[in-house]
């Protein structure tokens, strides 16, 4: 892990010194991880593809002034999550959902045809995760799908570990109720 962090810092430094290939290497290292995290956040493959690329485009412009106060992964994860949240706010507005109807899960319009291919349980999980408040959803995705330790999640989100643990517990509780119908025990 230490070695990886050093390599990562070296790539960032080399990019900042003008080596464009160093950025390509960073993209190659993290593209799958970032994509899968975004996919679990927005629950739509085509949107996740676009948002993943947008994440790295944003990262490209921001990386020149990145100061390595956190790891590159922490930093780019934050970019990706912000894009996801902003994307879903825009989708909500586009679908003319009432301002007070903020708990309703929103899937992008073109997700319907894709979700036909998914089974019922996967669709139910999509809806359930999307119905989580954004902070709980971020923590849940980072903890359950990305398997990140609480400390790292707290660093990414700028929260305390206790707050992160609380968010995760609340998310699990909500999902337990929403998905009760599919539980077999």
């Amino acid at each position: 892990m230490e070695q990886m962090r050093e390599d990562e810092e070296s790539l960032v430094r080399r990019f900042q010194e003008g080596e464009e290939k160093a950025f390509n290497e960073l993209v190659s290292r993290y593209k799958q991880r970032i994509f899968h995290m975004i996919l679990k956040m927005v629950r739509n493959k085509e949107d996740a593809k676009d948002l993943s690329q947008e994440t790295f485009v944003k990262a490209y412009y921001g990386l020149k002034s990145f100061r390595s106060e956190s790891s590159f992964f922490t930093w780019i994860t934050r970019i990706a999550l912000n894009l996801c949240i902003n994307f879903q706010k825009r989708e909500k507005f586009r679908n003319f959902i009432s301002f007070f109807d903020i708990k309703k899960p929103i899937l992008a319009e073109n997700s319907v045809s894709q979700n036909v291919a998914k089974d019922e349980v996967s669709r139910a999980i999509d809806q359930a995760v999307l119905s989580l408040p954004s902070k709980q959803r971020e923590v849940f995705v980072l903890r359950y799908y990305q398997r990140l330790p609480y400390q790292e999640i707290a660093e990414i989100l700028g929260k305390s570990q206790g707050g992160v643990k609380s968010n995760y517990f609340q998310a699990v509780n909500k999902l337990k109720k929403i998905l009760a119908k599919y539980r077999t025990l």
Binding site: K118, L179, R183, T184
Partner: protein, 206 residues
């Protein structure tokens, strides 16, 4: 350790990510508490459902073309610079945006003023505004239904031998962290406000 604390540890217990000490405490409690055993079954069942989620396959061509596509986007759309000479053309759009903003403020104004008074129109619990309290510690004590001066609050924020070593994290971890109001507070605070709260808690002395 009480049931509320145990249940808060069950998701991590299920994923075998507790410390050995925590795991031992949970297992001892589960031996004697049927309610928590039921809760664990429900959590295990939930994670069983989540494991059934199908992963969508992403075509190899997407990954192969990922970096070239990024490069293409970078050459096609450099970061936008503000074009001052577009201001006259933007005026109608700005007018529309202002109208939407005013409508939004009007719609939210009841919720906003209620929030300042410490009550939210949220369908769930009250949310708290920092503006109602003299300090974040004061607010934390209020949420925990304790007064800053009480022995119980002092016990909460100091160690067993009376030294003030408490951090916000320990307060949240030890008790009440499934308290929705506490969660709301933590969510509402900015990073700077969280840091201030942590510093103030550390300063509490007997």
């Amino acid at each position: 350790m009480n049931c509320s604390k145990i249940t808060s540890l069950l998701p991590d217990y299920n994923e075998d990510s507790l410390t050995p000490e925590e795991k031992k405490i949970v297992e001892e409690h589960l031996r004697v508490c049927e309610s928590c055993r039921e809760e664990l079954k429900e959590i295990q069942s939930l994670f069983g459902v989540l494991e059934r989620e199908k992963t969508e396959k992403i075509e190899d061509s997407y990954w192969i073309n990922f970096v070239p596509e990024i490069r293409k986007k970078l050459t096609q759309a450099p970061p936008p610079e503000f074009k001052w000479n577009l201001i006259p053309q933007l005026v109608p759009l700005l007018g529309f945006a202002i109208a939407i903003l005013v409508a939004g403020i009007f719609l939210f104004s009841k919720d906003h003023s209620a929030r300042i008074q410490g009550v939210s129109l949220s369908e769930q619990t009250q949310t708290y505004s920092l503006y109602d309290f003299e300090s974040p510690v004061d607010q934390l004590a209020d949420i925990l239904s304790l007064s800053e001066g009480t022995q119980e609050f002092k016990d909460l924020v100091t160690s067993g031998n009376g030294e003030s070593i408490m951090t916000l994290e320990k307060v949240v971890d030890d008790q009440y962290w499934e308290n929705v109001e506490l969660q709301d507070l933590l969510e509402d605070l900015s990073s700077e406000e969280l840091q201030l709260l942590e510093k103030n808690i550390e300063k509490i002395t007997i």
